[in-house]
């Protein structure tokens, strides 16, 4: 086969100029290794930060929002029908934050195939009393097993056990910041005042730290029942239904669907965390840009070396042409040559990139705000390796194409006469 011969010639040309070829390949190796490492690292960080938010956020959250009344008396007037109305005499109605029929809704959601699990919640703004000072905070009454299933709450509990909320009544887990402000520890009792004036005492069974100060300074967890008791509500009182889907990408549509179906408010994770998404995208774009730049630089290296090689190998090209190789054959010899450099350099690049990633993956990275993270995060997604390798092969082919076309046009007579 001719392809075999062409590749054989390409390999022999590389052997004859081994040093330059290795330097060209090292350029590609470096480019690919950096590309893969950079993307892995950047996306590892992205995932970490996304996880910080997204794992804490339900994909869809159902709730009741206080809304301005849309039915204003002025709208009834036929006279002003086509005018813009500013008069809004009816103030927002207190529909309460309770989701009516929550049991039925939860049952329907649990039957939905797109849903992984559903966790009901009661949130209530409260005051934590310490001495004569009142600190504003929030009590989240959670269904402990469901919450644990959806959000891995136990990952963030730095002291105590989340299931103690169920084991003992009148218990609470409070945010680390809150605990520090009130100078309390596990086993102590905190006093809580509700907005309506009720006063309860709860025993602290754990301390939680999410890693976001604003939240850690105000948040606390109790069981559903305890929260309902604090508010003086019945066991059917639910303010939020949190839903986790099999595919996050589906959340905006699903939220829209639920809004229409249940007649309550629904927000999706993307909308709730849009600013995080933007940050992740920017970081991804930067890492792709840097990686691709490195590969293009490597491409120029190959271009230079091939040009030089063709200049040196004029005689050989003339002989090949004189003994029956067409311009096309010569072109393919140099394209193969460039491809071999690209593929070998690329494969080593993937290897080194993986090695470098593993090293970074083992560098300790401990911050008090991220209790579950012990080393720098790395994303080993295979797509980065596929993209990197594909791009390396493309760049080297393009870099080799111009010198190869030049070689194919060499006139053997000119060279032979030139001797």
């Amino acid at each position: 086969m001719n392809a075999k011969l062409i590749i054989d010639i390409a390999i022999n040309l590389i052997r004859a100029r081994l040093k330059q070829s290795i330097i060209a390949a090292v350029g590609v190796t470096f480019g690919i290794a950096m590309f893969v490492t950079l993307l892995g690292f950047m996306n590892g960080l992205n995932n970490l930060l996304d996880g910080l938010m997204l794992n804490r956020t339900p994909h869809v959250r159902l709730y009741n929002e206080v809304k301005p009344s849309t039915d204003q008396p002025v709208l009834i007037s036929k006279e002003y029908k086509n005018n813009t109305n500013f008069i809004q005499s009816i103030k927002p109605k207190d529909r309460g934050r309770e989701i009516y029929n929550s049991k039925a809704i939860i049952n329907i959601l649990k039957q939905d195939k797109r849903v992984i699990d559903v966790a009901p919640k009661v949130t209530a703004p409260v005051f934590f009393n310490t001495g004569s000072i009142e600190i504003t905070g929030v009590v989240n009454g959670i269904d402990v097993p469901a919450e644990e299933h959806l959000f891995k709450v136990s990952d963030y509990i730095i002291e105590g056990n989340v299931f103690d909320l169920n084991n003992e009544s009148n218990t609470i887990i409070i945010g680390k910041g809150l605990a520090e402000q009130m100078l309390v520890k596990v086993g102590d009792v905190v006093k809580i005042t509700t907005i309506k004036g009720g006063l309860v005492s709860l025993k602290i069974v754990g301390i939680i730290q999410i890693g976001i100060a604003e939240i850690d300074n105000t948040m606390s967890y109790t069981s559903l029942r305890t929260a309902q008791m604090i508010l003086g509500e019945s066991a059917s009182y639910i303010t939020d239904i949190q839903v986790k889907l099999t595919d996050v990408m589906m959340s905006p549509e699903t939220a829209k669907e639920y809004r229409a179906k249940f007649g309550i408010d629904a927000i999706d994770a993307q909308t709730a965390n849009s600013q995080f998404e933007t940050g992740s995208n920017v970081r991804s774009i930067i890492s792709y840009a840097v990686g691709i730049t490195l590969l293009i630089v490597a491409g120029f290296g190959i271009y230079n070396i091939l040009n030089m090689m063709i200049y040196e190998k004029m005689d050989s090209i003339a002989i090949l042409k004189a003994t029956g190789f067409s311009g096309n054959d010569v072109k393919w010899i140099f394209i193969s040559l460039s491809l071999i450099i690209g593929i070998v350099g690329g494969l080593f690049g993937l290897l080194f990139g993986f090695g470098l990633s593993s090293i970074i993956d083992n560098i300790p990275f401990e911050t008090s705000s991220l209790p579950t993270i012990k080393t720098y995060p790395i994303d080993y997604k295979y797509t980065y390796y596929v993209i990197g390798f594909t791009f390396a092969v493309c760049t080297t082919t393009i870099a080799g194409l111009f010198p190869a076309l030049k070689a194919s046009k060499i006139d053997p007579v000119e060279i032979i006469r030139g001797k």
Binding site: N2, L5, T323, S326, G327, N328, I416, K419
Partner: protein, 236 residues
């Protein structure tokens, strides 16, 4: 009658290479006609030499005949097929299969050893297995007394030895015609005679045609026919 017809037919198919009114110009630095009205033909089994003063256009003509130079006027026919205005790819196939070329200066690939250099046009042609080609290459090298050098790299050889390797390479595909531009120019009397003998056997035994440019009057005299050139024309 039948004999005559047969002879005629035979004669027709006998022509290996033919040119009709080939003209060639060089334009740099001034327009200048290197070759004028070259009409010639070479038959199967014919051993032809070209002689003429230095600069009269012998090499230029040979490059055209070997299909490497396509920038000329007139027509070139090899084995009954007109090669004028054929594509680069077709011409490459013709060069590979039909023509063996020995240059004035030995041109070998420094990346390969002697044996592989000889084999390369054969591998490119891909008509025979690698083993067969290797066997044949060794056979050629043996005839040229080069077997013991087969595994050397070309730059470990003397000038005359390189020339012999180039000859072996030209013969590997059993071409219809072998062209040489002063192939014995670098050889001593003994080696030059050996090359001549090899050429002679090719003509006699294999019926291949030979077209050799030479400055050696002895060499020219021993060939079947001598074409003499002067100022880009064939004068006899």
């Amino acid at each position: 009658m039948t004999l005559l017809k047969l002879l005629e037919e035979n004669n027709m198919s006998n022509i290996i290479l033919e040119t009709k009114n080939i003209n060639k110009y060089f334009y740099d630095p001034v327009k200048f006609k290197v070759l004028s009205d070259i009409n010639m033909s070479i038959n199967e089994g014919e051993f032809v030499s070209i002689v003429g003063k230095s600069g009269c256009g012998k090499s230029t003509l040979l490059y055209i005949l070997s299909t490497m130079d396509t920038d000329y006027e007139g027509e070139l026919t090899i084995n009954g097929v007109s090669l004028t205005s054929k594509t680069d790819k077709d011409l490459a196939v013709v060069r590979n299969e039909r023509i063996g070329f020995v240059f004035q200066f030995h041109y070998l690939l420094p990346e390969y050893n002697v044996l592989k250099n000889v084999m390369l046009p054969g591998i490119k042609l891909a008509k025979h297995s690698i083993q067969e080609i290797e066997h044949k290459a060794m056979e050629q090298l043996r005839k040229l007394d080069m077997v013991d050098q087969a595994l050397k790299s070309p730059n470990q050889l003397s000038g005359g030895q390189k020339q012999r390797v180039a000859i072996a390479r030209a013969l590997i595909n059993d071409p219809l015609i072998i062209m040489g531009d002063e192939p014995t120019g670098n050889l001593d009397k003994k080696n030059s005679d050996m090359v001549f003998d090899i050429f002679n056997t090719l003509v006699k035994e294999r019926n291949q045609a030979l077209l050799i440019v030479t400055h050696d009057p002895d060499f020219a005299e021993r060939t079947h026919r001598t074409i003499e050139m002067a100022d880009g024309r064939i004068i006899s």
